[in-house]
Symmetry: C3
Subunit: 342 residues, 3 copies
């Protein structure tokens, strides 16, 4: 399955990219990210055209990156602009460059034809720029395909089992969920509501809930693999006692079977409660690692015998809808490649 092309992929947190090279594999491509002295992010193939040393071992010199091996320098467009002791530079001495842009705390990398890179296609995750919200962003490397983590987020029936000791509760396992899913162009939206369930210890702590709650998750999936969840928790007997959390998950393939995962977590309550923030960082780390343990095991099982089909259940409605959009986008991509090749 080819990676979706002509898409923005989250590549790194903006504050990870600075004046020293940062190496990361994105959709199978070895990429080096860095900033020019002016602060502009840049992304190049991480491979000197001369003898294939990784440019990420080098140094930023002015607006260029210098290879650690023989000192060749490349500008942010991937053109070699300096070969030590040599006046003429062969035009073949160049490396692929990728459009990149800082937005909402992430550096986004455009995989596809540079001319089609439209910054407005980056999802609006403004909560990380908005002083009305208290937000943090965490990164996890996952030994599993991106889509497996997307599917995890789209089928929240797993919360009562995978997260039974954190944000779910075993007692809620058989609660009747009110499910709603809708495909809107290339976007899938949905809602999952549970009434009068145990909150799970973390949610009880975040919201100060003492009894049962109603929980509603409103989610949006956008290609290639961005999941946005508005999580609303309210006291089951007093709906004025409620909190809202935005859970933002860009997920980026590293390879076909490994992924870069971020959770952005934003709240509009108790903005100055630093202890709550630190607790939530710890709690969310545990929750994600609960998912990672299951998803990585799932990936290993699938790699062990790749020919086995999944059997869908009712809770997979959003998963199925998203898979359909992806198949449609991939079919279009394949057709475009055939046209280009003919």
């Amino acid at each position: 399955m080819a990676f979706l092309q002509d898409q923005w992929y989250a590549a790194a947190l903006s504050n990870e990219i600075g004046g020293t090279p940062f190496a990361r594999r994105i959709c199978g491509e070895a990429v080096v990210l860095f900033r020019t002295p002016a602060g502009a992010p840049a992304a190049l193939a991480d491979r000197c055209a001369h003898r294939h040393a990784p440019l990420s071992m080098g140094a930023i010199e002015g607006g260029t990156i210098e290879c650690r091996y023989h000192g060749l320098r490349y500008d942010t467009q991937g053109r070699c602009v300096h070969v030590p002791g040599q006046a003429q530079i062969p035009p073949r001495l160049r490396v692929r460059s990728f459009p990149v842009i800082d937005r909402h705390g992430w550096v986004w990398l455009w995989l596809g034809e540079a001319g089609r890179a439209d910054p407005s296609a980056i999802p609006d995750f403004h909560w990380f720029d908005d002083p009305a919200w208290n937000a943090f962003q965490l990164y996890f490397h996952v030994e599993a395909a991106t889509q497996l983590f997307v599917d995890n987020l789209l089928d929240l029936s797993h919360v009562a089992f995978t997260h039974r000791n954190s944000i779910g509760a075993a007692s809620a396992a058989d609660a009747q969920a009110d499910l709603d899913t809708m495909t809107d162009g290339d976007v899938v939206r949905g809602r999952r509501a549970l009434k009068d369930v145990e909150p799970g210890p973390f949610i009880a702590r975040w919201g100060g809930f003492e009894g049962r709650i109603n929980r509603t998750s409103t989610y949006v999936w956008r290609p290639p693999s961005n999941v946005e969840i508005r999580a609303e928790f309210a006291d089951a007997t007093d709906s004025s006692r409620a909190i809202t959390i935005m859970v933002i998950n860009p997920i980026t393939p590293e390879t076909a079977t490994t992924a870069h995962f971020w959770i952005g977590w934003a709240r509009d309550f108790a903005l100055d409660d630093e202890a709550l923030t630190q607790g939530a960082i710890k709690d969310n780390t545990q929750v994600i690692l609960e998912d990672v343990a299951v998803i990585e095991a799932q990936q290993r099982v699938m790699l062990d015998d790749p020919g086995v089909a999944a059997v869908p259940i009712n809770a997979d409605r959003a998963v199925v809808a998203v898979h359909k959009v992806i198949e449609r986008l991939q079919a279009g991509q394949a057709a475009a490649r055939r046209v280009a090749a003919s």
Copy 2:
């Protein structure tokens, strides 16, 4: 080389299987073993039919195993009996189950057609149930093919070299062995007798021997890969000073090139000598690790260049006889598959 089908394979020690799932790969198949509250052992494919999470990450709930991911429950026959929040259960939601039985301290798993699983085909290793014997069972994971360890046990000429400091002696290396091998249906029996040799330090200790001994090993190989050795050691000058040890080795393929190995060690003397038991556990662990070191190295050499044929020597008589039986059983198995496919 396909694994022999329609065979009982040792899967675990009986006391390893209880109320929490136990994951083990058997003949290439990922299997989860557990017990129902009534104590009956069960074995299922370790892969939820829904989304492929390993069932071994889950929990035993009543007589069922519950998936950690989305809470599906399977009975001991592999049928899904519960999907949270869903009344109808699609019949495709099922996983393979394997017949299993407790016998002589091991859980045996039937690989093949369930209807042909005959408990009486499990080898009679009664020494582990018999109060007239003092017995223990040890497990080792081996990075080598099962057959390589079987061959090791069938050619005891290795004892003087591999175990020269434990149960063999360099001085016995060129002793003339009296060898006898016989194929009896699917079973190979043999005997190897040495007269008037140094005992090796461990055997001297176990039997209290002060001088040279006669040693006779009477062995039985039964498919798929069970080796039973009756080891008799007697003072070379006083045959009334003798001990008998039963060494029982079921070996089970994990994959084509890795194995589960057990040594069951039973004695009919000094039954209450706990110090002897503890010493023998330590001694046998050393002996097995001496074998494992050689066999794993042998496997690495063979994997490095798989096309090289072995050159048999006289001592390989039992090895050759067993290989012939296995080839016959595999040919029959292949013929049955062809009939089934036509």
Copy 3:
């Protein structure tokens, strides 16, 4: 790319080979090296013909090597000369032997037809036998193809970048090098001279230089992969203040993508300065590890996408000349194989 045949390859330091077996993979072949009691080196395929245990687990018994598994013994020509308990030895019980010879501190192994092994083809690295020189030899295992390290040594423009804090200096990066390369049969010779450059801290220390220097490297590449560098450093303003160092690098493929690397380092000054020797061992270790870091990264990048061609620069003149000789030798080798096969 096949390994060059009918060549002497450095296999080990002479003082590493003694009365216990020494295992090393040479050009993809698992080899066991040992010495007979008379001190003669021997090299055999590291695989018993009987059941494939590595002979290197065994012991030297007289002039033979004894297998740890079943006690078979092989002489230095690879003939089995003893099978315990068996009078007749099948002629197929033999393993490949390799001609080996001690020379200049290394054991050299002949890969090719034994009848063509000519000791005079071993390079004359006499500095390691000559009391007029103070010399040491260091070994490094490298996770990269042999040729990548050869190329590194042939393009010394890397010194200002890879070794900018040891034997190079960033300030010398754009110094104009005077380059000279010449192919002489199967040998490539060259010279690289820099005038009036910073010496780098290690060279300043070795030569006691206080200011800028002239540096001349005169190098010889000999097949299969031996690089000899005469490094001359002289005070830029007083040419009588000069030192000469011979840097000898035999490099031997372990596999197609891993290598055995030696640096032999010999000086003809301050012969009795043991502190200088110890410092130079430490310094050269750092320098080699600086190279290894870049070369191993380069190899990983190349393995990641093997189809990408290198783009040569002017400094690659010697690299290109050596590649041409190797291609010619390999073409001759392939032609000889075709003749032999027809």
